[in-house]
């Protein structure tokens, strides 16, 4: 079980300090799939980086607690984290499969590499395991001998997926795994993920801007805005009964196939993370806001079991 508490990740840039991830907390149970949605730049990808401790050169602040089955990962030093946690307990599939593979190495080798490095498996045996995994994700075993540029987008994504699964991690983070693919391939990958969920009992963090995909795969959903989680809860509750104004607008903006309703849009632009306002960050674009909301950062309130909202409108709730 993974528990994130008050994770902060700030970057130093020419313009100032970007508060990319600001006090993010959530829990991931064993076998649970959590979907993290939001606009681009809201901090979802940075959350994934924070979890994997893939900090850039210009990191300004990195703090919080990451409890993995009770152990605080933040207590581990760099070397220990690298050897024990990365890829073995937590793995990640990044956005843009196009460039996630080293162009000069064969894909089979790249997938086998973690086995060879972390588990001291012989190259031959490792490659055999890779072939088995390829079978699982629907790739022919001979593909281990191919180079990345010899594969299509969908195939590459499968390779990357198998690469993430090779060490049987407890947690798999997927950052926009399908956004660069066309719809039919997207469907294939989603089916693959669903199958994995069933067969492997793996916990997943599914990051995307596409709510439709989330509803297909996840049990829990978290909505991020301006570096913070503004709503978190079971998928049906949040989608059918969204509490946060932003979530409401988000859902209303999804066009429905057979309805005649014109999709809503959210006026304004996402805020600059360099100098966030003190109060509620959605306030400038919120139609339901009151003046005092922009004074203090709203608390994270539980409006029903397991369903949390970061909004001043529910301050009177017990």
């Amino acid at each position: 079980m993974l528990e994130l508490s008050s994770i902060k990740l700030y970057y130093r840039t020419q313009r100032g300090i970007v508060q990319a991830v600001d006090d993010v907390s959530f829990t991931l149970q064993d076998g649970e799939t959590l979907g993290l949605v939001g606009e681009s730049g809201c901090g979802k990808s940075s959350t994934a980086l924070a979890m994997m401790r893939l900090l850039p050169r210009n990191v300004e602040r990195y703090e919080g607690k990451i409890l993995l089955n009770g152990t605080n990962l933040m207590d581990l030093d760099e070397e220990a984290f690298r050897r024990q946690i990365r890829w073995q307990r937590m793995a990640v599939v990044f956005q843009g499969a196009m460039n996630s593979l080293n162009p000069v190495l064969k894909v089979g080798f790249q997938v086998a590499e973690p086995l060879i490095i972390h588990k001291n498996v012989e190259k031959k045996d490792a490659l055999q395991q890779v072939k088995d995994l390829f079978y699982l994700v629907g790739l022919p075993p001979e593909f281990t001998e191919r180079y990345p540029h010899e594969l299509s987008g969908g195939m590459k994504q499968r390779v990357i997926l198998s690469m993430a699964l090779i060490l049987n991690p407890d947690i798999l983070i997927l950052d926009e795994p399908t956004s660069a693919l066309d719809v039919s391939i997207q469907a294939q990958i989603m089916n693959l993920l669903k199958r994995l969920k069933k067969e492997r009992d793996i916990s997943m963090l599914f990051i995307t801007h596409d709510i439709a995909l989330v509803s297909d795969l996840c049990e829990t959903i978290g909505v991020m805005y301006a570096g913070q989680i503004v709503e978190l809860g079971p998928i049906e509750n949040v989608l059918l009964n969204p509490q946060h104004p932003y979530t409401q607008k988000l859902i209303a903006s999804v066009p429905l196939l057979r309805e005649e309703r014109i999709p809503d849009f959210i006026p304004g632009a996402p805020p600059d993370l360099v100098n966030p306002i003190r109060g509620c960050r959605f306030f400038p674009r919120c139609s339901q806001g009151q003046r005092e909301f922009e004074e203090r950062d709203p608390p994270f309130l539980e409006v029903e079991t397991g369903h949390f909202v970061k909004c001043w409108r529910y301050r009177d709730q017990p």
Binding site: M52, L54, R82, R83, I85, R86, W87, Q88, A91, V92, F94, G96, N99, S100, L101, N102, P103, V104, L105, E113, P114, I117, H118, Y147, H149, E150, I160, M163
Partner: protein, 350 residues
């Protein structure tokens, strides 16, 4: 891969032929080659006739007539009385088969005027200096470039970049002249030039040491003037590489920094680095002519200079041909290396 190489071989051979052909046309534009050949033929005939018995007794006009007769038939036999264009193709064939003839003035250490011998004598010396230098500056440049990429914007990075910018436009021979003034004359640390002292040491060990001693300044100059721009290129390429997504993935996979640097940053950057190497090598080959002249290093470059100063035309032409060959061979080797390093090429062409 094989198809790619075959294509390159064909292409490079064509270029070689073209280069040599152009060289011949330039050379013979002033009738240079014609004159050389006629003179050589006449010389051969005269010496031959002089050896035959009874030659000395012949009257002067008779001698001249015989020479003329033989000369005309020799010219005809070689096809040298044919029109200009045809002759150029005959010369081309000679050049391609490295049948370079004899020099006018220059002789080899063994005393022969055969150009191929003369050139073969000097070639290893050029290769010794040149190859050592290239390997040296490549390694130095690579190491320093990587160090720069590790801490961009640091003092080390900025100072080295400045150094690189200033030295990149200045050719090695230029630094050579200044360094000779400084290190050889002023500080008397190293010899003024040449490959060995006069007289050279007799035993092989000291001889080798002597060569190294003489190689010190040219090598230093070569490295000094080139490693800067080299480091800069490496720095930029590796910095670009390290910002690639697959590097982040490698880090996520829990690989050690060293491994990431080797396999995920350096390895993929090697193809463009190799391209830069080939371009700079081409330039270096030519720069070597002047550098050797400045340092008096008795290699091909210096031979070029000697031949130019006394207008030993056959040697000049022969050297140009050899240069064209060397260039093409170098490029071919680099193509091989590039093909080996970048699988995209291998598969594209195969």
């Amino acid at each position: 891969m094989k198809k790619y190489l075959a294509k390159r071989v064909v292409y490079l051979s064509l270029t070689l032929v073209l280069s040599i052909y152009i060289a011949i046309i330039i050379a013979n534009a002033g009738g240079m080659i014609d004159d050389i050949l006629s003179a050589q033929i006449k010389y051969d005939i005269t010496t031959n006739l002089a050896r035959s018995p009874g030659w000395a007794q012949l009257p002067e006009e008779e001698k001249l007539r015989l020479i003329e007769e033989r000369f005309t038939s020799a010219i005809h036999a070689k096809g040298l009385d044919k029109p200009f264009l045809e002759r150029t193709f005959i010369y081309l064939w000679d050049a391609l088969t490295l049948n370079l003839g004899r020099s006018l003035f220059i002789t080899s250490a063994s005393g022969t005027k055969q150009i191929s011998v003369i050139i073969l004598e000097r070639l290893p010396r050029t290769v010794l200096l040149f190859t050592t230098g290239t390997i040296a500056y490549s390694i130095v440049g690579l190491v320093i470039g990587l160090r720069m990429a590790r801490s961009p914007g640091s003092l080390f990075d900025r100072v080295t970049t400045f150094f690189a910018i200033v030295t990149q436009t200045i050719p090695p021979w230029f630094f050579g002249i200044i360094f000779i003034l400084l290190f050889a004359y002023q500080l008397r640390l190293v010899p003024f030039g040449g490959m060995v002292s006069v007289p050279p040491p007799s035993d092989p060990f000291n001889y080798a040491l002597d060569i190294l001693f003489h190689m010190a300044l040219p090598l230093f100059t070569w490295i000094f003037s080139i490693f800067g721009s080299w480091a800069y290129i490496t720095r930029n390429l590796t910095m670009q590489s390290s910002e690639e997504d697959f590097v982040t993935v490698a880090r996520a996979k829990g690989l050690s920094e060293n491994l990431i640097m080797r396999r995920y940053v350096l390895r993929p950057s090697l193809p463009p680095i190799v391209t830069s190497v080939s371009l700079s090598l081409i330039a270096s080959w030519q720069g070597a002519i002047i550098t050797e002249t400045v340092f008096g290093w008795p290699g091909l470059g210096r031979l070029y200079y000697q031949a130019i100063s006394i207008l030993d035309a056959p040697v000049i032409i022969g050297l140009t041909v050899v240069y064209a060959y060397l260039l093409v061979i170098t490029i071919f080797i680099l193509d091989l290396v590039y093909g080996f390093l970048d699988p995209r090429i291998r598969v594209e062409m195969g």
